[in-house]
Every structure is written in structure tokens, then in C-alpha cells.
């Protein structure tokens, strides 16, 4: 299967009274069709902005987004609408992402109504099918969002995203507002749908155990930049960037015997406004040295494992020298 989405040097800056906010700064990656890319990072790292820029809900500052062979930063409005039918989104907050004055049925059928390809009866039938697909009972069709619990609302959001039969779905923290038992139901549903429909996901989240479970590949972001990207197993087995290491060690594990080495970071995330050149993590990094003031570009350390860190790249070189 081929590459469905390729992002090249994507940047999204916001101008604020204090200066340029580098929400997404020079990010490049590819996703294969039918795979899931997890994007993790802490609040303010630009992961949600990245997703919205890819869907062109936000205009990118520069860079290319090639979806299914077409650069969506360059197409006209009409073409963009066509492409968007193949790129949908599931939102974080199942409370805020549904119009409170539209019933379940109205919400799910809206994309089809807007598309205008089907007749009214076909739309009705399709809506019922969609409800069944996501596990919503038919009797709920005329209910309003405020009458339903979080899990069911998120199912509505998923049905709406599936309505146009897209190839790609951006999932922005789709389970973080849900309780664990409901979260597991929704995650399973998303995996089932992916298998059935060969969907490609970008799964944006701050929850590392969820991302490990659902993703094929994981990208770690810090202050608008990609600091590491690798296959899910590789990232957890062999994290190379100090930030990734700290992040992984910070996850509270539900096991009373797990006494692990925790890397406590110094301080907190710095401002993404007018960042200085060089490594943005340096201020909190335990291994930072003078060289970190210069920029380390993302380097492929082993196949499919990318990292942006002087120390990591250097260690790798040393290893290679030893092997020789």
C-alpha cells in the first residue's frame, strides 16, 4: 500500500501581540494507507494545531500537505471540498463538538445532506446504517446530545466522520474526555472500523498508553517540533530523545510493584513565542551542553527511527565507530 499523506516542512505560525507563536515548526512525515500515526506531546506542543493545519481547517504558514497525490495547500476551494470528503475529523470533546440543537439523526446525516449526492430516502437509510456501525441504537435517532452520555456522544461524532466514507480520519484526543471503561469501548470501535474500512488515522493524544495501544508509528512533539518518531514498539523499547525518555518514565503505571527510575524534568514548558534557535528542550534537558544552542535537524538513526538530538546522533556515531 502506498503513502496516503505526506507532510513536508509544514509550518504554522500565529502572530500574537508578543510576537510570532511557532505552533507547528517545520514538521515532515509520511503515513502509509491503513496505518495509524500517533502524535503525542504535552499541552501547548502544537499537536492539535498540526492536525487542524493538515485538514486545512487552519491555513498553513508554509510547507506542503500532499494527500492522495494532491497538494492541498495549493488547490482551489472546490477541489478542497472534494478532498475534504476523504479527510474527516473526530473531536476531543463529545460535549462541545455536537450542535446541541440538532438531534442525533440530523447530526449524522448533515455531511450527506451537504454533499447532496443522495436522495432523501437514501440519506435516511445511510444514516441508519451509520448508527448501527458505531453501535448507536435506532431509538436514539431523535434524541439530543444533552440527553446522552459521553460515550454515546463520541459515537455520534464518529458516525458523522464516517458518513462521507473517508480514507483518512484525524482523531484529536477522541477518548481523553471519557471514563476508562467507556474509553476502551471507543478505542475498540475505532480499531474495528479501521480494519473494516482500511482507514488511516492520525491519533493526537497526550495519553501515552492509549497511543501505544492504537498506533503503528508514534511521533513525539515538543514546542511545535518533532523530536522523535519511530514505530510504536521501537519508541517504547528504545527511546532516544531525552524528552521522550522523561515522558515515558513519567507515566504512572497501574502496578504497585513497578518501582521504576523516574526522570524528573526541571521546570516547565517554555514559551513557543519567538523561540531561540537551537534545541527547544535544552532548558529542561539533563544532558544539555553548549552544542545544543545550534539546531540539530531530524536524523534517521536506524530504519524508521528519527530523532532530533545532538547527543542521540553522537552516541549513534560512536557505536558505529566501535562496530568498525
Amino acid at each position: 500500500m502506498g503513502t496516503i499523506l505526506e507532510v513536508k516542512n509544514l509550518k504554522k505560525y500565529f502572530s500574537t501581540p508578543k510576537g510570532e507563536l511557532h505552533a507547528v515548526d517545520d514538521i515532515s512525515f509520511k503515513i502509509e494507507e491503513g496505518k495509524t500515526l500517533g502524535v503525542v506531546g504535552e499541552s501547548g506542543c502544537g499537536k492539535s494545531t498540526l492536525g487542524r493545519t493538515i485538514l486545512h481547517l487552519l491555513e498553513s504558514t508554509s510547507g506542503r500537505i500532499i494527500f492522495d497525490g494532491e497538494d492541498i495547500t495549493k488547490v482551489n476551494k472546490k477541489k478542497l471540498r472534494e478532498i475534504r470528503e476523504n479527510m474527516q475529523m473526530i473531536f476531543q470533546d463529545p460535549f462541545a463538538s455536537l450542535n446541541p440543537r440538532m438531534s442525533v439523526r440530523e447530526t449524522i446525516m448533515e455531511p450527506l445532506v451537504i454533499q447532496g449526492k443522495l436522495s432523501k430516502t437514501e440519506i435516511e437509510a445511510e444514516t441508519e446504517k451509520l448508527m448501527e456501525t458505531v453501535g448507536l441504537a435506532r431509538r436514539l435517532a431523535d434524541s439530543y446530545p444533552h440527553e446522552l452520555d459521553g460515550g454515546r456522544r463520541q459515537r455520534i461524532g464518529i458516525a458523522r466522520a464516517l458518513a462521507l466514507n473517508p480514507k483518512f480520519i484525524l482523531c484529536d484526543e477522541p477518548v481523553s474526555a471519557l471514563d476508562v471503561s467507556i474509553q476502551a469501548q471507543i478505542l475498540n470501535l475505532m480499531l474495528d472500523l479501521q480494519e473494516e474500512r482500511k482507514l488511516t488515522y492520525i491519533f493526537v493524544t497526550h495519553d501515552l498508553s492509549v497511543v501505544k495501544y492504537i498506533s503503528d508509528e508514534i511521533m513525539v512533539m515538543y514546542l511545535g517540533q518533532m523530536v522523535e518518531k519511530a514505530s510504536s514498539d521501537e519508541l517504547f523499547r528504545n527511546p532516544l530523545h531525552p524528552y521522550t525518555k522523561a515522558l515515558l518514565s513519567a507515566i504512572p503505571v497501574p502496578d504497585v510493584h513497578a518501582k521504576k527510575e523516574r526522570i524528573l524534568l526541571k521546570g516547565e514548558i517554555t514559551s513557543p513565542i519567538n523561540p531561540k534557535p537551537g534545541c527547544r528542550f535544552a532548558a529542561r534537558c539533563l544532558y544539555a551542553t553548549k552544542r545544543c544552542a545550534s539546531t540539530q535537524n531530524v536524523a534517521e538513526i536506524s530504519e524508521g527511527h528519527f530523532v532530533a538530538c545532538h547527543a542521540a546522533v553522537e552516541n549513534k556515531k560512536k557505536e558505529e565507530v566501535k562496530e568498525l
Binding site: 476508562v180 467507556i182 476502551a184 478505542l187 480499531l191 492509549v210 492504537i214 515522558l247 504512572p252 504497585v256
Partner: protein
């Protein structure tokens, strides 16, 4: 007096009046908390965790909330029978509470130092200068440099604000700290810092903590004992080791299986089916009946009684042998 009981909650029943229905929020909760101990109160949204904490502190909004039954014995006196004046002395002096959102506890137009010193002066006879010195000490105790005494809450990041709130809650050296999801709004690396700090403080000050959370990982890290709350009842309580390693209630087991484990390579989670029962229409007998894979006719019978599995490990289930 190492293991003396600090607070004993006995058959607590709290209801909320909503329209014409009654929400049975807390239905006969029993637990004890010893001096210097941390008890985790775990459950999903709407399980009644926060209501229990608010009942202890006597800050339930009445109406609509009503404590129907029960005793809360704190240091030998029943808090539910105390006069308002006595209760307000205990509030803050001996019991204090921190909430999920630090901004609800901070006054945005007063410097953090002043807020802490005023809290101290409110409960102790001290001059302004003495209280100021004490406040700086508290700030440093929670890892905030004393120089930041004169800064306003908005100048602090989320994690720092939560530290300020903790400093304020601990300023009067309470015997009991009620912590309601204190780190849920924080990023993992910041959460790790705050949890680490709370653990150190607990040892230093000998405060007992009632930690309300939905995160079993946080519980494993922080708690000596755990109580699992479901539909207003404590379905399982015991030492962290007992609950995690010798899980006796099907709901607790379901919670663990709903979590994507970092080590496992399983392809699908095993979620708990269905949803929490409507708290206005609770049936007698086991509240978990509808969702339980072990349920049988006998579970519907009224008068569920907790069973003691030894070592203070209590469980509210007739099928424990099958679960374990």
C-alpha cells in the same frame, strides 16, 4: 499512635434532589483512614467520589444535596453533628481540600504570597510579618522559589498554580488533606513532579490524604490503601497490594482490563460492557449486576454485605471466588 484512626466514615448516604427525581449519589459508604495514610478513592465520573469528600468537609450545596444518614467520625467527634462554627474551625485548620482546577481556589487579583499568608492568619494568631515568613516557607516547601511571593496567579503555569494551591491547603498543617483529582489537569511530566512533591510532603508533615482520582496509575504510585467506588458504593477496599494483585470485585477487574497496558501486545482491550446505572433508578442488590460477566440471579437479591477477605480487604460481591 502510628496507626490510630483519623477519620471513620460510617454508612454515609447522600442524595440530590433533581426535578422530581432523587439522585442517590452516595449509598452507605464505610471507610477508615489512619493517621499518615493515603487512601485512594477511585471511580468513574458520577460515581460519587467528590460527593464523599464534600460531605466530609461539610461543603455540600444544600439544597439540592442532603446527607440522609451516617456518621463521619473525625478525631473522636461526628462532623455531621457539629455546629457551623466548630465545623468552620475544623475546615482549613484540620481538614483542607484541593480541587482539580487550581484557579477555583486562587484569587486572581491577589498575590500568591498574600493569599497563603492570609490563610495562615485566618487560622492562627500571628502577626503579618510572621505569617509572611511562614508563607515563604510554604512556597519553598512545594518547590516554588520564595522570590515569587509577590507574583499573581496568572504569572504561574498550571503545575505551579497547583503547587500554590497545595501550599495554601497545607499552610495550617491540617491532619487530613482531601485531594480531588489534583493532577488530572496537568501534563504527565508536570504530574510526575507534583506527585513526587506530594509524596515527600506527606512524609515530612505526616498528613493523611484522601486522594480522589480515576487514574489507577496515580493510585499505584501514591496510595497505601485503595477504595473502588461504583454507583455510590465502595465495592472494594483494601491495601493497594490487595486490590491490585488480588482483585476481588468484577468492576475493579474490568477497570484494569480497560486500561491499555504499556507492556502488553494485545490487539483488543476488554472493556466493561454497558454504562453506569442511572443514579435516579438504582435497583436493590448489586449495582454492577447489568454489566457483570459473573452475575447470576442471586446477585439481584437485596442486602448486599461486604465480605472480609482478611487484612482489611473488603469486597461487595457474592462471586468473589470466581473473580479471583
Amino acid at each position: 499512635m502510628e496507626n490510630a484512626t483519623l477519620i471513620k466514615v460510617n454508612d454515609l448516604v447522600v442524595e440530590y434532589a433533581a426535578d422530581k427525581k432523587t439522585v442517590q449519589a452516595v449509598n452507605g459508604v464505610y471507610f477508615e483512614l489512619r493517621k499518615g495514610e493515603t487512601l485512594g478513592l477511585v471511580g468513574e465520573t458520577g460515581a460519587g467520589k467528590t460527593t464523599i469528600a464534600k460531605a466530609i468537609l461539610g461543603i455540600l450545596p444544600d439544597p439540592p444535596a442532603k446527607v440522609r444518614k451516617g456518621e463521619i467520625e473525625f478525631d473522636g467527634q461526628d462532623l455531621l453533628k457539629l455546629s457551623g462554627k466548630k465545623m468552620s474551625h475544623i475546615k482549613g485548620n484540620e481538614i483542607s481540600m484541593i480541587f482539580q482546577d487550581p484557579m477555583t481556589a486562587l484569587n486572581p487579583i491577589m498575590t500568591v504570597g498574600k493569599q497563603i499568608s492570609e490563610t495562615i492568619r485566618l487560622h492562627n494568631k500571628m502577626s503579618k510579618a510572621e505569617a509572611g515568613v511562614e508563607a515563604v516557607k510554604m512556597l519553598e516547601l512545594v518547590g516554588i522559589p520564595g522570590e515569587r511571593y509577590n507574583e499573581y496567579p496568572h504569572q504561574f503555569s498550571g503545575g505551579m498554580k497547583q503547587r500554590v494551591v497545595i501550599a495554601m491547603a497545607l499552610a495550617c498543617k491540617p491532619k487530613l488533606l482531601l485531594a480531588d483529582e489534583p493532577t488530572t489537569a496537568l501534563d504527565v511530566t508536570i504530574q510526575a513532579q507534583v506527585l513526587d512533591m506530594m509524596n515527600n510532603l506527606k512524609q515530612e508533615l505526616g498528613t493523611s490524604v484522601l486522594l480522589i482520582t480515576h487514574d489507577l496509575g496515580v493510585v499505584a504510585e501514591m496510595c497505601d490503601r485503595v477504595a473502588i467506588v461504583y454507583a455510590g458504593e465502595i465495592v472494594e477496599i483494601g491495601t493497594a497490594e490487595d486490590v491490585f494483585d488480588r482483585t476481588a470485585h468484577p468492576y475493579t477487574k474490568g477497570l484494569f482490563q480497560s486500561l491499555p497496558a504499556l507492556e502488553s501486545t494485545e490487539k483488543r482491550l476488554k472493556p466493561i460492557k454497558g454504562m453506569m446505572p442511572d443514579p435516579t433508578e438504582l435497583k436493590p442488590g448489586c449495582k454492577f449486576y447489568d454489566r457483570c460477566p459473573y452475575a447470576s440471579e442471586e446477585c439481584k437479591a437485596e442486602g448486599m454485605r461486604a465480605r472480609d477477605l482478611g487484612n482489611g480487604h473488603l469486597v461487595l460481591c457474592k462471586k468473589t471466588e470466581e473473580v479471583m
